[in-house]
Symmetry: C2
Subunit: 290 residues, 2 copies
DNA sequence: GTTAACTGTGTCCACCGGACACTATTTCGC
DNA sequence: GCGAAATAGTGTCCGGTGGACACAGTTAAC
């Protein structure tokens, strides 16, 4: 059990010295991982099999085992490679998913709705902070971090399901964490709070993506909408059993767009989380002087 | 594609009329689902195969297909059955995971740490609200809802992985949603906002559980701790590349407990989310009078 | 030149979800 | 009562999965 993990860590972190005695390898770890990612992007994680990956590379499946101990390790490599490096958060403010390096905004490339950017720069709670001072820089940075992570998961939805449980992180994953923690470094939060805060933001994101994103990106909303009407019918027939829910959905349907909108739900929750963090940070800063 | 979903909906919602022409069925859907859940609880979702479920019931695997169209539908049934009914949120305040019906608090059965319960009942922001008036009752209720959902996922971790993407909800799932929305009904939020708020809370929970919970509950912390030291070593060797992260972890290790504690991270994030929601609700209530 | 290390292949295995034909059982219409 | 029809469970078969293992071909060190 632990042997697997140290093995995975070696693969993720150590390039490994090239042994020079036998024939030259006709494959590289990078090519294998890239082929696997391409399959997963196009057809979902379930379509990634040793046979399939090897076939796409014109090799037999057993040859892959010269490079990768097993499928679990291949998946771990896929995840870290798919995440890529984190964006540069210092270009803050209107930094958005589309400005991350090499990002071709797979979904929701739009800007922040309803002035969220301004809110991120100003004092969130009562306007007592000077908008020009540094102390609130964490907010747009963390938001940009979250949106970039969201975009990354949008590009590789299978990465969500491939990152269950506690795992050994790869270099890219730690780079992401470093970038996020750095955004929180001068907030006055303790180290533990910084970690918890970042986990909170990431968890919100992952949970939402896990619930809303279609995993093999097949027909990007057709069946989803059909399913929405199915759920609506299900609920309408039983409005007496679910009164509050039916009322809320009727209200939502009457007043505005469908509540299942991904970007909307993301921004809503993200703003809530950031507001909550701002409150904590404010508490820490004003501690001692009532 | 949609056929599967209507089929799933029928199985989840309609008991289906018992046809009376052939021999009496020796099995029931409930027994099959229960057997599958037992396997998943004990050995993880991957251990649930048609063969295995049928074998545990002393039947052949093909006989299961008389009751269930396929494995996907069985999984959907498992999820809804495993969730069970939501708790009664009216017994608020110190209502905790352990008081949910039939809950034998699998993990973190303890009470709210550091006075979170009191905070839930009082005005969250500045103490201007009267703690005895009803308007803030949503907060302890929503917290209780979240903790109960967390406990449910703790009892059946596999349910997290089995609920990817947009699905057709079962009766229990809609009961949970109804309970959550009911807690938010008199907050002044719009229907869409109530739905978004509940999705936010649930997403936070699911995301955190997805990242922290071990999925086959094998050795409930041994390897996890080993993995923690492995990550620590990984980070310590590269403290120059991850300065903020290393500093945060060092600080966390020096000041308090390990930052990976599940319950702690849950309460931290949950408090942040609830604070953010309280801020929104306050905004809605004080709207119009600056 | 011999030898040892290494690469890729072919064969084999247990297991997976599921299609299909088949027998045994029960009940409805007559 | 009796045949017909519908249902329940079984056995067999299929393509696919991850992976173990022995083997032949290639290359560099000695």
């Amino acid at each position: 059990m632990l042997g697997d993990q140290t093995r995975t860590a070696e693969l993720l972190w150590g390039p490994g010295p090239r042994p020079s005695r036998g024939p030259k390898p006709g494959l590289t770890l990078e090519r294998i991982v890239a082929a696997a990612i391409a399959i997963a992007d196009a057809e979902g994680l379930a379509a990634v099999s040793m046979q399939r990956v090897a076939g796409d590379l014109d090799f037999t499946k057993m040859s892959l085992y010269r490079y990768v101990p097993g499928k679990a390790e291949l998946t771990a490599l896929m995840v870290d490679a798919a995440m890529g490096p984190p964006p540069d958060l210092d270009a803050a403010g209107d930094l958005d998913a589309a400005s991350a390096p090499g990002v071709a905004g797979a979904l929701d490339g739009g800007g922040n709705p309803d002035g969220a950017a301004e809110r991120d720069t100003a004092g969130a709670w009562d306007g007592t902070h000077d908008p020009d001072t540094a102390p609130d820089a964490w907010r747009p940075r963390l938001r940009a971090w979250a949106r970039a992570l969201w975009a990354a998961f949008g590009r590789h939805p299978w990465a969500l399901t491939a990152t269950e449980g506690v795992r050994v992180p790869g270099p890219n994953e730690l780079d992401w964490m470093e970038a996020g923690i750095a955004a929180l470094a001068d907030t006055g939060l303790t180290g533990g709070e910084q970690l918890d805060a970042l986990v909170t933001v990431a968890s919100h994101l992952r949970g939402l993506a896990h619930q809303t994103m279609a995993f093999p990106p097949d027909r990007p909303g057709a069946t989803e909408q059909q399913l929405g009407t199915l759920i609506g019918a299900l609920l309408a027939e039983r409005a007496d059993r679910f009164p509050a829910l039916a009322a809320a959905m009727a209200d939502a349907a009457a007043t505005g767009a469908a509540p299942g909108g991904q970007g909307d739900a993301l921004d809503f929750g993200l703003t809530r989380v950031l507001d909550g963090l701002a409150h904590l940070i404010d508490e820490r800063r004003t501690a001692g002087r009532p």
